[in-house]
Symmetry: C2
Subunit: 432 residues, 2 copies
């Protein structure tokens, strides 16, 4: 893909949705939040994007485009060897978001978030991270734009993937395991449950608290929020042009699902043709069986974090106090879904499947051995869902075109593969 | 770089050398070895290439070209941010060999070696590996061509970088720490020194022994040998075309040095213009201060391995029983240098510098923070040497064009960065 063909705008699906996402609410007053309210914790520009239901296309700032060019476009690859190993007539494509120096799609949103913070005079950013993909991306983006960065990493993920905190430190960030003793929220959680392994919900509470109690510090988020999915649409916009060059169009689009950023990033640009032209595409979000908010959650207003610091979000949720099992796909250990995806699922534009942990790693191993890339444990869920669909095509003989998002590589997650290869990996049950 | 511009031949510098490398000798008879002799342990085609001093260009097999296309060409990048951080007038370029799924240049030779083995009816391959970059590449290449693979990994490296053995296992290889109890050579070493941390020399002994005692099994090597450097010349051949597109020509070419494969891969295609047209380029091999065969070794016949199983090689060596310090750059912990480089150094076509471990990581950290890529500990030596040269340009005001090889990324080596960031890293002394 030529540099001149790179997207210069993000796609804001909210503008084209028939039923718009319900408003975020102030938990005290139950009043809808304004961009001004959100700008207390987020960069003002991100707050504006979050609530924008008018403009379908939003310009990518030049300075962000410059940084995108370091690694974009990412390859669209046909997985011939995987197809052959499965014996499927399906055509399997994947968008390879693992090929930037940070190793996942997260950098696509870390760069604009840090850019806007810098533009607005912010000096410090903070965030939560699960597996550490988002934290690593933010650490790098903060360094690139000259900001200080502090990351709360989910404690169990920090233990499972110690290299990710090393990567963040290498890029100059401060990293703290969550729940920690450095915030009120963290202390409260530890007091209740000294061995709490942490979750994205606990880490968000801590980062939000740090942002609101530190001068000139903004909070950033790697998923869930609508402005994050907006930034990630570069994935789908590129993929659309690349599929066109390949002379095919996807029947099925699959991505793993934590809060929705890599799913939305790939799916939304294609879904605009469903919303506007009635194009039929089977959109599938692949979530872990042990943390299944889309397949087993309720659509209701809930907090985005464990402590209840965030606005109330209208979403599919397992409850903000839900404690996810210690699966290796740390980026999927979150109780809720982004508001856009929640509305789209409710309205029947997409569906979700839940994948047991061992099935995800069996899929990841087959993918590695055929396509030579070791996938992130999160991405393994998308691969497993892809394999399920490709196997159906063996039955039906259909030459379906399946496109999935390889959101990241698994080189920092090798203990998970070890555990799988040693036969130690379990399938934690969902206790709803 | 367009697919049609990819090199279709490797460059064999032996054909253009004025003083050819001295022959490899049979240690018992002191007679020069023939390709037939070498074919007992190596693939016959590799053995032939090893001794070829006639043909400057050797066709890359179609099946290997197909696999090269998965990840080649690799980017040539101008390190603007590093230049700016240093305040140097030098133009710094790097060839980024870290961007394939295995993370280092080693895959360039793993693919042809496995291809030739398969063609010749071999079913099993074995090798040694230090940091594990070569072992990972061979594991993948063996899987790609349907061969069984067994790897002896240097014990200290296995402990320092446990994820690399997981990667090899993920690609279906068997991995054993060396010295091990599974070979005569390993047992002898452990008997003499139960806590021997291993070295490339010990692991080579074990792999050679396995190859010679297992039916239908060939030994493969990731560096040192001339046919390995031959395969790696795709790096320099691409870089030459890419520099031309950038409108510049290197005054200085730098690569880290273990056995010579990434150095030769980048340098030899440029050096042919020195050999044939008298072009002046400053070729610099960067080796660790604690294992300095080029700067402190002797040019003499020596064994390639600890146990003395290999032919005698004419090379700069610290002695085959030299026990390298436990530095993190496992790929540079080798007592000898390839025969081609040894001859070129002796004849004054290149020079070498030795880099203390802490200087290498300081350079790697600066590179990561400016260029966003965390370099392998081996590659950090090339970066440190580059920074030394770039700083000289500040003094002289020269706008020198420096090209170095980023041979691999350091994502699997984060314990080394942790150690550096914690202030625990030492500079082991060379005890010659």
């Amino acid at each position: 893909m030529d540099e001149s063909e790179l997207p210069r705008q993000w796609y804001n699906i909210q503008a084209d949705m028939i039923n718009k996402p319900l408003p975020l609410l102030n938990p005290a007053t139950k009043e809808p939040l304004t961009a001004e309210d959100l700008a207390h914790i987020f960069a003002a520009e991100c707050a504006k994007q979050e609530l924008d239901q008018e403009h379908a296309w939003i310009d990518i700032p030049e300075e962000v485009l410059e940084r995108y060019k370091y690694y974009r476009s990412t390859p669209l690859v046909r997985a011939y060897a995987l197809e052959k190993a499965l014996g499927t007539p399906a055509h399997i494509y994947f968008k390879n978001e693992s090929v930037n120096p940070l190793g996942s799609h997260k950098i696509n949103s870390a760069l604009p978030q840090c850019y806007y913070c810098k533009q607005e005079g912010t000096t410090n950013v903070t965030t939560e991270t699960g597996a550490g993909q988002w934290g690593a991306a933010l650490s790098y983006a903060a360094k690139a734009f000259g900001l200080e960065c502090a990351v709360y990493q989910v404690k169990i993920s920090m233990q499972q993937k110690p290299y990710r905190s090393s990567i963040m430190r290498t890029f100059g960030a401060t990293v703290e395991g969550s729940p920690s003793m450095s915030t009120r929220a963290g202390k409260d959680i530890i007091t209740r449950d000294p061995l709490h392994p942490g979750s994205l919900g606990t880490a968000i509470s801590e980062a939000v608290e740090l942002a609101t109690t530190t001068p000139n510090c903004k909070y950033t988020l790697g998923s869930v929020m609508s402005h994050v999915s907006l930034h990630q649409t570069v994935i789908g916009l590129e993929a659309e042009k690349q599929m066109e060059k390949a002379g095919e169009y996807p029947d099925t689009i699959i991505a793993c699902f934590g809060g929705g950023s890599n799913f939305g990033g790939l799916a939304f640009p294609f879904m605009r043709h469903t919303l506007k032209e009635g194009k039929k595409i089977d959109f599938i979000a692949a979530e872990p069986s042990s943390c299944p908010k889309l397949t087993h959650g309720k659509f209701e207003y809930d907090f985005g974090d464990e402590a209840g610091y965030t606005p109330l979000l209208p979403m599919y949720t397992l409850g903000h106090e839900f404690k996810p099992a210690n699966i290796h796909a740390g980026g999927l250990r979150y109780h809720g879904a982004g508001t856009i995806v929640s509305q789209l699922l409710k309205d029947g534009y997409m569906r979700a499947v839940d994948i047991p942990q061992t099935e995800s790693f069996a899929a990841g191993l087959l993918f590695a051995q055929t396509e030579s890339i070791i996938p992130a444990p999160e991405s393994c869920h998308a691969i497993a869902a892809t394999i399920r669909e490709a196997k159906k095509c063996i039955e039906t003989g259909e030459e379906k075109v399946i496109l999935f998002n390889l959101s990241g590589h698994g080189l920092i997650d090798m203990t998970a593969y070890d555990s799988y290869l040693n036969g130690d990996l379990t399938d934690p049950e969902f206790k709803g």
